[in-house]
């Protein structure tokens, strides 16, 4: 019988799922992904997690509850670092421990540490360890790893070529932008993948923007080379993977004349965002007057408030485009 592995549809699902999907399928495991986020999943998560944690971590707890009774093992690796010399976030590093100590009855947890901070070879070792839960042939795991890297590479490439990663993972949102090409806005939305591509949590932000005739561009649409080149201009190198990407993207925006506005989507209590968002805002405001707004989400965000802010932001951009040079003669 195939072993059922549960992958919560949360956090790194939105960045690395194409990799793990291929990897586990090649090893003959059956993948069970938790359901799309619902109010119940969120509520369950909020109840079982410490109050102080950020929204995505609470949500992760909810997805674990959704999965735990229907799988043989849960895949919650310890993502210490996913890139050379950089970290993810302390909460990601402690995630398997948080889960283990928050629930009484859990299936087996695969909590292998993934730490690429010092070398990429460590990733391979981690993959071998994870693979050994399903298969004892080293060769076969190596091959699965190879195939998975290819699938992941394709996924990243599609993002850089302009595809919206959210659409690739989850076809629930309308892909096309509504309205005519005339007056279409290019809006960059900077935010963690797990906030940006989970349409329940961000209250359909992407859908709403598209319906208002706006293209959504994300950090994943900017190539690694540009990000690295731009982020190297910082006074101090960012040691968070997302921080480098966000700062690099922000500095890249400054070079572009076709970006109409920037939205920073952050979750309340996110330690990394509190610094990165501030830095991004400062960088943008120093040298250009690109409209910039911050949308903060938490477990009790009211949707009406978000709509109002979004509409006001887009209206402001459009009015400014039309009327920038108009100064009323009536004072």
């Amino acid at each position: 019988m195939k072993k059922k592995i549960g992958i919560p549809r949360s956090l790194f699902y939105y960045q690395l799922f194409p990799f793990w999907k291929t990897f586990f399928e090649e090893l003959g495991a059956e993948i069970v992904v938790s359901d799309r986020t619902t109010k119940k999943i969120l509520d369950d998560g909020v109840k079982s997690c410490v109050d102080e944690a950020c929204l995505p971590v609470k949500l992760f707890h909810g997805h674990v509850i959704n999965l735990k009774d229907r799988v043989d093992c849960l895949f919650i690796p310890r993502y210490t670092s996913i890139s050379r010399g950089e970290y993810v976030c302390p909460k990601f590093g402690g995630l398997p421990d948080m889960i283990r100590n928050s629930f009484e009855e859990l299936p087996q947890i695969i909590g292998t540490e993934i730490n690429l901070r010092k070398s990429n070879a460590a990733a391979f070792k981690a993959a071998l360890e994870i693979g050994s839960y399903f298969c004892s042939h080293k060769k076969r795991i190596e091959r699965a790893c190879h195939m998975a890297l290819k699938a992941y590479g394709d996924f990243v490439k599609q993002g850089v070529n302009g595809k919206f990663p959210g659409d690739l993972l989850d076809g629930s949102q309308p892909k096309a932008v509504a309205g005519s090409r005339n007056g279409r806005l290019n809006i960059v939305v900077i935010g963690h993948a797990y906030n940006l591509y989970d349409s329940y949590i961000n209250m359909d932000l992407v859908y709403k923007l598209r319906c208002s005739n706006a293209n959504v561009i994300t950090v994943e649409n900017v190539s690694e080379e540009i990000i690295n080149e731009k982020s190297a201009q910082l006074f101090k190198r960012m040691f968070w993977n997302f921080g480098r990407k966000a700062a690099g993207t922000a500095l890249h925006i400054l070079d572009r004349s076709d970006i109409d506005g920037v939205i920073y989507l952050m979750s309340f209590g996110c330690g990394i965002d509190s610094f990165v968002c501030d830095l991004v805002e400062r960088k943008l405001r120093h040298s250009r007057d690109i409209p910039f707004t911050i949308l903060t989400i938490d477990e009790h965000s009211g949707e009406a408030g978000l709509n109002t802010r979004l509409e006001a932001f887009l209206d402001m951009i459009r009015w400014r485009k039309e009327n920038e040079n108009y100064i009323s003669a009536h004072g």
Binding site: P90, G93, G94, N101
Partner: protein, 371 residues
């Protein structure tokens, strides 16, 4: 160049002795105060952690007294502290405070850049002078921490309540004026003698509470609303394993020279938190387990709102509390924390500890009420 540095408990002693020994000119900012926090809150990003806000307040208050350069330590994550220096520089410059910052760290493992910074600080590269400065700084850090530990022991046992607080406060004030290692050492020694001469109740068996958590909020008394002294004056002996000398010796010097370190806490934390995840989460978990094993009556965790590593620790602490049957209180601090509410929680916690002790002393003869 007039250097200043942020406050964190007694770190100013370490900072000033280092600069004294290096022969640099400096200004110690006013002790942490409400105004400093207000200034910091005004300029810092709202969801930044509390230490960053107080740091900014310290710098700006020192700037008003003439400081133009900040001495700060750095790091490479994953805790936000590693990026403090860089962000603080941006914030200060944007706000119109023209201050330079020297971050003592090795950017991308660049030893040369680190040495350049040391050179700038020391005004030259007299290796003998630098070594002596490091040695004396480490010594004074250790002496001050030992003195503080002594206050933890004496405070709950003193006969005339408030004596320890009075002596210790005077010491902190006088230390501002001390110049160089020799004067500082003498002051520590005099204070130690004065504390030891206090009349204490030797038969008193105080409750014992371990303080764990994020380093700034545990070490800095102003931020924790004088938690250690409050507990001490309630007749409770406290212990706080994370100290500044420990940080300098174990985390900087020993790990740079690859010397063996005291890693008991890592071992103790292993069943609950297997890896270092930044900040002091591993220390928090490990020390909580060690406290429980050493028979302490309770553990208090303190951290600033949104502190990432401590949130992980907080979600693990209930498991330790359950496994070892030890009460744990978590106190979270930000610029809005009201002292009265905070004090009520501490009092409720200490009452609980008292009751638990009575319960264990009566053993099996537990009664609900007697008529």
């Amino acid at each position: 160049m007039k250097i200043t540095f942020p406050h964190m408990g007694n770190v100013y002693v370490v900072g000033k002795i280092l600069l004294d020994e290096l022969g640099a000119e400096y200004i110690v900012p006013p002790f942490n105060n409400k105004k400093a926090l207000e200034i910091g809150t005004k300029y810092a990003p709202e969801s930044a952690c509390l230490p960053l806000k107080i740091n900014l307040g310290n710098y700006i208050q020192a700037y008003e007294q003439g400081a133009d350069t900040i001495l700060m330590v750095g790091g490479c994550g994953p805790c936000r502290f590693g990026y403090y220096g860089a962000l603080e520089k941006e914030i200060l410059n944007d706000a119109g405070f023209n201050m330079d910052i020297i971050i003592l760290e090795m950017p991308n493992g660049n030893l040369k850049e680190f040495l350049n910074r040391v050179k700038r600080l020391a005004g030259g590269f007299d290796i003998h002078k630098i070594f002596r400065a490091i040695r004396n700084t480490t010594r004074i850090a250790k002496q001050v921490d030992e003195l503080e530990k002594l206050t933890f022991k004496i405070r709950p046992r003193e006969i005339v309540k408030g004596s320890t607080d009075r002596i210790y406060k005077a010491f902190q004030e006088d230390m501002r004026e001390a110049r160089g290692y020799d004067q500082a050492r003498k002051l520590v020694e005099d204070t130690r003698r004065e504390l030891l001469s206090l009349e204490i109740d030797r038969s008193f068996k105080p409750l014992k509470v371990g303080i764990v958590g994020e380093i700034y909020t545990t070490i800095d008394s102003y931020t924790s609303f004088y938690l250690d002294s409050k507990l001490g004056n309630m007749g409770i002996e406290v212990e706080r394993p994370v100290t500044i000398s420990n940080w300098i010796i174990d985390h900087i010097i020993k790990s740079a020279l690859h010397l063996p370190r005291d890693l008991r806490y890592v071992e103790a934390a292993a069943p609950y938190l297997g890896k270092m995840i930044g900040g002091h989460a591993q220390e928090t978990i490990g020390n909580a387990v060690l406290f429980a094993k050493d028979g302490y009556d309770g553990v208090v965790q303190v951290y600033p709102l949104t502190c990432m590593p401590e949130i992980v620790a907080q979600s693990i602490l209930p498991a330790i509390s359950r496994d070892f049957d030890i009460p744990v209180l978590t106190l979270i601090i930000d610029e809005m924390t009201g002292e009265a509410g905070y004090l009520t929680r501490i009092e409720a916690f200490t009452d609980l500890l008292e009751k638990r002790r009575e319960r264990t002393t009566i053993e099996e003869n537990r009664v609900l009420s007697r008529s």
